[in-house]
Amino acid sequence: DVKVTQSSRYLVKRTGEKVFLECVQDMDHENMFWYRQDPGLGLRLIYFSYDVKMKEKGDIPEGYSVSREKKERFSLILESASTNQTSMYLCASSLRGGRNEQFFGPGTRLTVL
């Protein structure tokens, strides 16, 4: 059974804190993605990675960075959390190529106070 796991389901952080969100997939997928979901805005791509140590900016990368040191793990980093980063964060993975479905993790609900 394919699986994408995220380190936390719920997180509460304070403004200015450094926040790490971890994602692990067990499907040997080349591609990994980080999205945020906000009401009325759908899923917006923050960053993605198509290989180890490779990363590409998505549509809303400002305020975020990523790390992919191993194929199965993709980390999203909020260098200095702000209240407008309160959101649902979703990680996904897929095989290399343009016509492959993405498999999603359960999401992390992050609240920044």
């Binding site: 994408v4 389901r9 591609n31 993605f33 999205y35 009325g40 805005l41 759908g42 899923l43 917006r44 791509l45 993605f48 198509y50 590409e56 998505g58 979703l90 996904a92 897929s94 095989l95 290399r96 190529g97 343009g98 016509r99 492959n100 479905e101 993405q102 498999f103 999603f104 993790g105 359960p106 999401g107 609900r109």
Partner: protein, 116 residues
């Protein structure tokens, strides 16, 4: 600039009837389209997809229709069941022409409520 749009934020239908969810796109480079379903507090799960060389794809109660000239796709659920109540996202990919990155562009989502 929203390249994939779901203009109806919500839809309510009676159990047993047809649910039709709509999606419009602007980028003619998109050549692969997907529908995802999302329950609260869970990640989206893949439902059905269609390639731009087809105009219809069917999987059980779910059928996706693609009208390329109108840049429009729709998801039909027949018959609708209460367990179908969820948020539905359409997504598009520009595949090979987009560099085969695997990126998907998602719509805003439509919340479907199926009443018993």
């Amino acid at each position: 600039d929203q390249q994939v749009k779901q203009n109806s934020p919500s839809l309510s239908v009676q159990e047993g009837r047809i649910s039709i969810l709509n999606c419009d796109y602007t980028n003619s480079m998109f050549d692969y389209f997907l529908w995802y379903k999302k329950y609260p507090a869970e990640g989206p799960t893949f439902l059905i997809s269609i390639s731009s060389i087809k105009d219809k794809n069917e999987d059980g109660r779910f059928t996706v229709f693609l009208n390329k000239s109108a840049k429009h796709l729709s998801l039909h659920i027949v018959p609708s069941q209460p367990g179908d109540s969820a948020v539905y996202f359409c997504a598009a990919s520009d595949g090979v022409r987009g560099g085969n990155t695997g990126k998907l562009i998602f719509g805003q989502g439509t919340t479907l409520q199926v009443k018993p």
